[in-house]
Amino acid sequence: MVTGVSSLNRKLLRDLWRLKMQVVAIALVIASGVALLIMALTSGEALKETTNAYYERYAFAEVFASVKRAPERLMDKITQISGVKRAQSRIVDIATLDVYGFAEPATARVVSLPSSGRPALNQIALRQGRMPKRERLDEGVVGERFAAAHGLRLGDQISVLLNGRRRAVSIVGVALAPEFIYVIAPGSIMPDDLRFGVVWMNRDALAGAFDMEEAFNDVTLSLTRGTDPDTVIEKLDAILARYGGVGAYARDRQISNRFVQNEIAQADTMALILPAIFMAVAAFLTNMIMTRLTATERDQIGLFKAFGYSNAMIAWHYVKMVLVIAALGIGLGFGVGSWLGQYMLQMYGENYQFPFLIYRPGPQSFAIAALVSIATTLVGSMTAVRAAAALPPAEAMRPPAPPVYRRSWLAKTKLANMIDAPTRMILRRLGRWPISAAFSMLGIALSLAVLLLALQWHDAIQEIIQDYFFRSQHQDVSIALFEAAPERVLHDISALPGVMAAEGQRIVSARIRHANVSRRQAVIGTTEGATLAPIHDVMQGAIAVPPGGVAISSTLADVLGIARGDAFFIDILEGRRPTASVHVTAIFETYMDTPVYMHLDTLSRIMRERRLMNLFHLRVDPTQRPQFLAALKETPRLSAVNFRKAGMQMFRETIEKNIMVFIGFYTIFSCSLAFGVIYNTLRIALAERSRELATLRVLGFSRAEISYILLGESGILTVAALPVGIVCGILLSGYIAEQFSTELFRVPLMIKDATAGIAAIGVLLTVGICAIIVRRRLDRLNLIEVLKTRE
């Protein structure tokens, strides 16, 4: 006998032990929700904290601008813009790299370092080696990932093609920088550490190469606290306009930061939706089990009250039980969740380049998760606990009145005579308690929906890959020139060894404006009859080039609030920087980015230029690939080289590394959800009917026959839950896809029949496993014991 434990508490412990499997099943669902919540909250928090600390420590700028060429003396004027704290001019360009042992040409962003001292803004985090020495024009620091991908070490040399002039640069340092947390080549959608990197060199070296003595082509600013970036941007643009400025932008449009912020936003979304589903189901399960428990303990409740226990004491007794279940779930969820949070942050560390990762989750996330789960389970048990507390003792000690059944109109038909008694029992029960049957059905349907949600990601990603890399693109390689060239360049490029087909486009920086919404968005000028990289709509495939107007992606159209036929403004941010009013002639849908297309002639007319091109899509004869690559390495002023296959491979690898792991987690979580719901449904059905089933056994029914009565009911509910679950899964996936879509990416709602089938089979398997467990209990049913007691 344990001393110090009140008898009521001892009853509590024994009840918990008796119901242990059900308790564990509910605790698992709570734990899944808590783990998901903690994972999302702590990893989001850690990512935010890491990013902010990184930005702070390495003086990440707040306003960014590029120009063609501006004199250094302009910096005085820029520094005097009110609200500007510090300003840093730089030379930033694209260079083609030839790395020993790598057949393809790589490109890199080359960024100048001040000839003396540390940069005022966008400092670099040296990971190895040192900064280039003053006056040394042949020393460089390379990005960490690029160095690692190529196995480059300090002292190694790479050949850098700077503005057509080849220079051997020796690597003296390896570094990271806050502006390159996410390193992505222009025109590509995923980081590719082999083909795109960053190289920092002394400003003098780049000034010589790019003809920028006493001049700059890139300026970044930090602002005093509370300054609105837009007012500074406006003034900066005015200053830079005549020097070929292509429009300043704030941190929120800086490409690397945009991806990071996008990731943080997604973590926040994750913290909301999925845990909410798990918590709702946990509340539902608690309700189910507590209602059942207080119903079976009616006479005991009456007895306690007869002894003088107060209503509050009775209520507290059952609340404690709920709290124990919640505590189990919370404890398990804390462990799994913080492990997952750390794992998630490591994953961020692999995709995003940070010199350090800060994971020190505050008590906040844990407190939120704990409070949410306690609140949901308490809400779930409230009706049952209240009913128990309110039960008058005399009534409690009388057995509840037997349930009243009625013969439905169906029972009077001929059909009813063909149904055997066990089936009739199943149908009558379902008809007698349609609401509890509907809830059980809904519970199973929800677990199917969550499982479907987890599995459909795979389909969605396959669809993105199919659409982006196969249906919309047919070239082998795309190359971009730093400066647009007359159309005849297309002939030169076609003449490169191995080129079988070539198409040219013009891509220019622009700002798209409508009403008071504006977006920086490159505009692509294309020609009719393009087959390698046509304008592509997700549904219709290639669509015609609009002769006069503009074809705009539906996402951008939504952002700007424009429809077909509407007029809007395009501010071209290059050349003569014209502004034109244009009409939407076509709206098309894409999964990535928000492209805008015009006919090359229309674009050239707006720009008041000849037909110039700077983006080329090529098909290359695979047998002549080495010669083609060698020729590319000698081509000056290439700003980007993107291989479709390599891009796809990168995409696949990255996705597989990240998302597939999480699909695995979510699958496990949804299975625990399905198990929790189905096992509890079956166990409660068994508890409620053990007396009836034992009677039938005594009357001569076999185990199989009584199993049919019990499991048949669950079978019917499961079968009914399948279509409902699939519909819920589609709605849920659609909702999540919508929540996850950004201007960068849209996740399509794509569920293959086979995926729905697999999810359904998963749920059926779970039902099967639970049925086997329950069937074993059914076989051990104590016939005599059950019959002696009155209900």
Binding site: A401, P402, P403, V404, Y405, R406, R407, D420, A421, R424, M425, R428, R429, R432, R691, E692, T695, L696, R697, V698, L699, G700, F701, S702, R703, E705, L783, I784, L787, K788, R790, E791
Partner: protein
């Protein structure tokens, strides 16, 4: 008609459960028509119960979701040569309440449905554990009358457990139990009809 009398804990129910194939003795054998029913497989026990034994319980144990007729049909559907549910309910005097659910019947009526359900398969043995235990004397007598009629008209061997010594008057033989043993067997040559008894 046998009556098993004795204080609680004296082993009446255990014997009944063993005879009915619900429980297994720690030692000894139980034979039914020259065949062992103990130690055989679970499905043999099920078949034995299904084909030969009828049970009546103190708390009726009707299926609340089935009507009187359907509760009886539950057994007739799996039996070899049963009465129709209507006949069986007629035998216990419930021919007029065929389509009532248990919740719509009185305790005595529910117990008579249970008897009808037990005899509908024409069992060789009818085992009744305190069939009147939960009923007042008047309804209890109605139930006993039904048992008596079944015993007389169908010749079913009927064993009734009771605390109520008065009921022993209607038995052919009475077993008195004490401490897990049959203490005394009384052959009742002068049994009286159920309606002549009162308590």
């Amino acid at each position: 008609m046998l009556v098993l009398l004795g204080p609680s804990g004296s082993g009446k129910s255990t014997l009944l459960n063993i005879l009915g194939g619900l429980d297994v003795p720690t030692s000894g054998t139980v034979r039914f028509r020259d065949a062992d029913i103990i130690g055989t497989s679970e499905s043999n026990m099920t078949r034995y119960r299904r084909d030969h034994v009828g049970f009546v319980f103190q708390f009726y144990n009707l299926i609340p979701s089935l009507t009187a007729r359907e509760n009886v049909a539950l057994v007739t559907e799996i039996a070899g040569d049963p009465f129709s549910p209507e006949e069986a309910l007629g035998l216990v005097g419930l021919g007029a309440r065929l389509d009532h659910f248990p919740a719509q019947l009185s305790g005595g009526e529910q117990q008579r449905v249970a008897i009808a359900r037990a005899i509908a398969k024409r069992p060789d043995i009818l085992l009744c554990d305190e069939p009147t235990g939960a009923l007042d004397s008047e309804t209890g007598l109605l139930v006993l009358e039904a048992l008596e009629r079944v015993n007389r008209e169908l010749g079913t061997t009927t064993a009734v457990i009771t605390h109520n010594a008065v009921i022993a008057d209607m038995a052919d033989r009475v077993f008195r139990f004490a401490d897990g043993r049959i203490e005394r067997t009384i052959v009742n040559d002068d049994k009286c009809a159920a309606r002549e008894m009162s308590w």
